[in-house]
C-alpha cells in the first residue's frame, strides 16, 4: 500500500473491492455508508460466503491477516472499522 493513501482513499477502494469481488449488483460506492454494518440485514446484508471473499481480498490486496475470531469481530464490521485497521496495520 502506498504511504500516501489516506483513510478516505482506503474507504473508497474498499467499497470498490467489495462491489467487484462480491458482485454487488446495482450498488455504487456512494450507496455504501462508512459506518454501515456490512453483515446486518439493515446494512449490506452480506453473508458468510461474502465473508470468505472479504477475508481473502483483505489479505491479497492489503496484506492484512486477521488472526482470530476476536479480531474479526472488531474488524469485519463496517467500512470504517476495516479502513482504520488497514491504515494502522498495512
Amino acid at each position: 500500500m502506498s504511504e500516501k493513501q489516506t483513510l478516505d482513499e482506503i474507504r473508497t477502494r474498499l467499497k470498490e473491492e467489495l462491489i467487484e469481488n462480491l458482485s454487488l449488483e446495482d450498488v455504487t460506492p456512494e450507496d455504501i455508508t462508512n459506518d454501515e454494518i456490512i453483515f446486518d440485514e439493515n446494512g449490506l446484508a452480506l453473508d458468510s460466503l461474502d465473508a470468505v471473499e472479504i477475508v481473502v481480498f483483505l489479505q491479497r490486496i492489503w496484506g492484512i491477516e486477521i488472526k482470530d475470531m476476536e479480531q474479526s469481530r472488531e474488524i469485519l464490521v463496517s467500512i470504517d472499522t476495516m479502513a482504520n485497521y488497514i491504515l494502522e496495520n498495512a
Partner: protein
C-alpha cells in the same frame, strides 16, 4: 439451528465399556455378536433413526416392499454398530485394522503444496477411523464441527491422546462461521476437515441426490474457491473383517468462472460431491450412516 439438525450420538460410556470388555475377551466376533440384540433394540425403538434410515433405503432400493425396507433398516443399524466397534477396537489398540489407501500419491502431491487443502468427509463409511490414520500426512488437521459434537468426535478419533498434535477443532458457530481461523490455517498449509453431507442449519443448496431433491452445505466449496485450495474427498469403506479402503481419488478444484452467480457455480460443485457420495452408496449401500433425512429438510 433447528433441533432436527442436531445429531444423536448412539451408545453411552457404559455401553462402550461393555463392548470393550467383549472385545478384549473374545475379539471382534464376540463384540459383533453382542451387537445383534443391541441393534435390535435400536431397530425397534429408535424412531428417529428408523425414519431417517427408511428415508435413505427407500431411495436406494426403490422397488423394495416396505417390509423388505424395514428388514434392511436392521442391516444398516447393525452395519453402523460394527463400524463403531471397529473404531473402539482400533483407537483403544485392542485390534489392528489394515488400511488400503487409494490415491495416496494424489494426496501426497497435494500435501506437498505450500497451501493447505480441504478434507471433505461425510456420514459414509468409517470417516472417523480414516481420520485416525491421517497423522501419516504430517499435517495439522482442523475439524470444523459443532460444539455439541465435539466430545463424540474427540472420543471417536482419539483426539485427546497421542494424536493431539495432529488434530485441532474449529467451531462453525464462531464469528462468521469460523471462517477466519479456517482461512488462516489454509494459508499456513494445514488441512481443514468439513462434513459435506449435513447443513446443520447453515448455508446449503438444493441438489439431486438419489433421484430426489436434497440439501447439502456449500461452505467448504465457497472457502476452497475463495482461497484456491483443492478439496480431497475422504471415503472410508469397510471392505473385509479387518480391512478398510480409504479413497482419496475424488478431488474437486472449485474455481469461479465468473464473479456473478456464485451460488449457481457452488451448486455445481456440491452436485459433483453428491454424485460421488451416490456412487459410494451404490457400491456400499449399508455404509450410508446419514441417519438424517437430507431430503425432508428440502421440503421444509
Amino acid at each position: 439451528m433447528s433441533q432436527s439438525n442436531k445429531t444423536t450420538p448412539r451408545g453411552n460410556r457404559f455401553g462402550f465399556w461393555f463392548f470393550k470388555l467383549f472385545l478384549r475377551g473374545g475379539g471382534l466376533y464376540a463384540a459383533y455378536a453382542l451387537l445383534c440384540p443391541v441393534s435390535l433394540h435400536y431397530w425397534l425403538f429408535d424412531r428417529k433413526a428408523i425414519n431417517a434410515a427408511i428415508s435413505y433405503l427407500k431411495r436406494r432400493f426403490p422397488t423394495d416392499s416396505p417390509l423388505k425396507i424395514r428388514c434392511k433398516v436392521y442391516k444398516l443399524i447393525y452395519s453402523q454398530g460394527k463400524q463403531l466397534i471397529d473404531r473402539v477396537a482400533h483407537t483403544s489398540g485392542v485390534i489392528k485394522f489394515d488400511f488400503h489407501f487409494k490415491g495416496r500419491d494424489i494426496l501426497d502431491k497435494i500435501v506437498s503444496s505450500e497451501k493447505g487443502f480441504i478434507l471433505l468427509t461425510a456420514h459414509a463409511g468409517n470417516w472417523q477411523l480414516a481420520m485416525t490414520e491421517l497423522d501419516m500426512l504430517k499435517k495439522k488437521i482442523f475439524l470444523v464441527i459443532l460444539e455439541e459434537n465435539n466430545k463424540a468426535v474427540k472420543q471417536a478419533i482419539n483426539i485427546n491422546s497421542d494424536q493431539q498434535n495432529t488434530f485441532g477443532i474449529i467451531s462453525p458457530e464462531g464469528h462468521l462461521g469460523g471462517i477466519v481461523p479456517v482461512v488462516r490455517e489454509l494459508n499456513n498449509g494445514n488441512a481443514i476437515s468439513y462434513m459435506g453431507d449435513r447443513p446443520y442449519g447453515f448455508e446449503s443448496v438444493n441438489i439431486d441426490f438419489m433421484n430426489d431433491k436434497a440439501r447439502f452445505p456449500y461452505g467448504a466449496f465457497a472457502i476452497a474457491a475463495a482461497t484456491k485450495v483443492p478439496i480431497v474427498t475422504v471415503l472410508a469403506s469397510k471392505t473385509g473383517f479387518k480391512t478398510y479402503k480409504v479413497d482419496f481419488t475424488n478431488i474437486i478444484k472449485p474455481e469461479y468462472k465468473s464473479r456473478k452467480n456464485k451460488k449457481t457455480q457452488l451448486s455445481e460443485w456440491v452436485q459433483d460431491y453428491a454424485d460421488i457420495l451416490n456412487n459410494f452408496f451404490e457400491e456400499y449401500p449399508y455404509q450410508c450412516f446419514l441417519f438424517h433425512d437430507v431430503w425432508e429438510q428440502n421440503k421444509s
